[in-house]
């Protein structure tokens, strides 16, 4: 009796999400597959075209450029971002005085709205009036044309990304707190120096969190949209910052090729699933789940 009452209550309480997930996630996901096989412009009902969209994507140079840009960006930004976040977290973990102040300074940038972020960095990196190049000049370096030179636009974007690592830094910090000091002390007694301690004790102990941040990072960098949309409209200069999500957006809302855009969406999803799966598989060997 009580069981079924609880069971009923369970469904009722969970109902908002069950409905929400079905309506706003599963149904769109399913229709997305359907649309990806159609020529669909919203103004007219979808017309089945089979594999046509996927075939066209394959031959679409802009698609490959966008995918390439996104991959390149992810490969550059992820490791650097993760290393920065971890490095900062480790510094903060050393329990030096004034920790809260430093922590605040590093974390605040990640709260800034995307558009403000983009606009601020547009200003900082401006070729003629930007302060970043001015500072470099003082240091004797001639700063590149961050926003106008295709070779430097992705690094420019990376700068904005690194400035915002506060979020993952906090996650690392919290997990560093959880590393049992007993293990560190034992290593210390064994004569390990700082680097060895880090490599052999700390990193394995926080490896689940590293994995978590890696997966979240992959999902995030592959979807990057708002900041390049504002900083580099059209992916200029010369399409160097034309990312996957931007091309998807343009196809859906500017060129009215919603079927085409859906196909792009599904490919992205499959790539993310694959990468996540690979990460999980690889991690089995390296990630140490210390009784949680």
């Amino acid at each position: 009796m009580k069981r079924s009452k609880e069971g009923l209550a369970g469904y009722l309480f969970a109902a908002p999400w069950l409905i929400g997930m079905s309506v706003f996630l599963l149904y769109p996901l399913a229709s997305s597959i359907y649309y990806s096989f159609c020529d669909y412009s919203v103004l007219k009902p979808p017309v089945w075209v089979g594999m046509e969209n996927y075939r066209e994507l394959f031959q679409d140079e802009v698609f490959w450029k966008a995918a390439g840009n996104t991959a390149m960006y992810a490969v550059m930004a992820l490791p650097i971002g993760m290393a920065t976040a971890m490095g900062l977290a480790m510094l903060l973990n050393s329990k030096v005085r004034g920790m809260t102040v430093y922590r605040t300074i590093f974390f605040l940038p990640s709260l800034v709205p995307m558009v403000s972020l983009a606009v601020l960095w547009l200003w900082l990196l401006n070729g003629e009036h930007g302060i970043v190049n001015e500072l470099l000049k003082h240091g004797g370096i001639k700063g590149p044309n961050w926003l106008g030179d295709p070779a430097w636009s992705k690094p420019a974007l990376m700068l904005t990304g690194i400035w915002g690592v506060g979020n993952s830094m906090l996650i690392y910090l919290a997990s560093l707190q959880d590393v049992p000091t007993s293990l560190l002390e034992a290593a210390q007694l064994d004569g390990a120096n700082a680097w060895q301690k880090t490599r052999n004790v700390t990193i394995p102990m926080i490896s689940p969190v590293i994995l978590f941040n890696l997966v979240m990072g992959i999902i995030g960098t592959l979807q990057v949209f708002a900041v390049p949309y504002v900083m580099f409209p059209g992916g200029s200069p010369a399409r160097s910052t034309y990312f996957y999500a931007m091309y998807l957006f343009d196809n859906a809302f500017r060129y009215n090729k919603m079927g085409y855009a859906s196909a792009m969406g599904w490919i992205m999803f499959l790539v993310i699933l694959t990468l996540t799966f690979i990460s999980l598989r690889l991690s089995d060997k390296h990630v140490h789940y210390g009784g949680s």
Binding site: G7, L8, A9, G10, F13, A14, P16, W17, G20, M21, F24, L29, S31, S32, Y35, V42, L91, K95, V96, G98, V101, Y102, R103, F106, L108, P109, L111, P113, M114, V115, S116, V119, L120, W123, H129, I131, E134, W163, N167, I171, A174, S175, Q177, P208, N213, V215, I219, Q223, A226, V230, L248, F253, M258, S262, M264, G265, M268, F269, I272, T276
Partner: protein, 303 residues
Amino acid sequence: MSALAKDIDLESSPEPAFQSHAKQNRVRVALIHLTLILLSIVFAFPFLWLVTTALKPIDQTMAVPPVWIPREFQWENFGKAITYNADKLGYIPFLLYARNTLVLCIMTVAGSVASNALVAYSFARLRWKGRDFLFAVTLATMMVPFPVLMVPTFALFRELDWIGTFRPLWVPAWFGSAFSIFLLRQFFRTIPFELSEAAKIDGASEWRIFRDVVLPLSKPALAVVALFSFIGTWNDFLGPLIYLLDQKTFTLSLGLQFYQSQHGGTPWNLLMAASTIVILPVIILFFFTQRLFIQGIAITGLK
């Protein structure tokens, strides 16, 4: 391991054991301080530049060599930013955008807290068939990238005739979100089950237990959900970009774009002033709720 139950201790200082270790420690501490100070300057610099630019007259923003701190602070730039172009038709009604954003925030925060609490409670403390499987599915949904949902969700809202209204931006918040469900579920599980048992023995219904036993103990966690929801809505750009058409209904994220002239060239000082105003509430909120914030983020990483 509940990070909310145990505070994150970040303020105690080290205890040197031996004399030579003490010396080593001092050097080490000094180095760390130095690095932290340098990095802080680097990280804080953009903010400082943001605010000083906001206070300059336009010609000083373009000056070469750059003006570090303006001679007089043009505080009126903030006022000008709010009323930018007011004398021309098609001006930027900053306050209107702020109001719209706030209105949206109220609706999404309320919906987020209400729905996620209910659902997380179900996953955390009620037993029902399929619960764990569905929870795993919930977690999996966090991997679905938004772009794949963009088109069909748009088509869905079109069918409902909701495009151009605010509904696509707040109604989904009332149906839960995977991230907040996960957060709250982890927290709810840390509340001793004996309390629920006791109440049940007293004849309380699940709803009573939820409302009178679990919720009051969960204020910090609920506050975290509210906080994240607020910041998410305040900063949201893509949603308003796709669903809002009438310029009068725009939010601050969209409104900020208008300072950039389509013909190239921008009133940088006003744009920075406007940006500052947009960033400010979130930062102020952070200062008042630091603890919650940190703990909230921490718990997401610890699985």
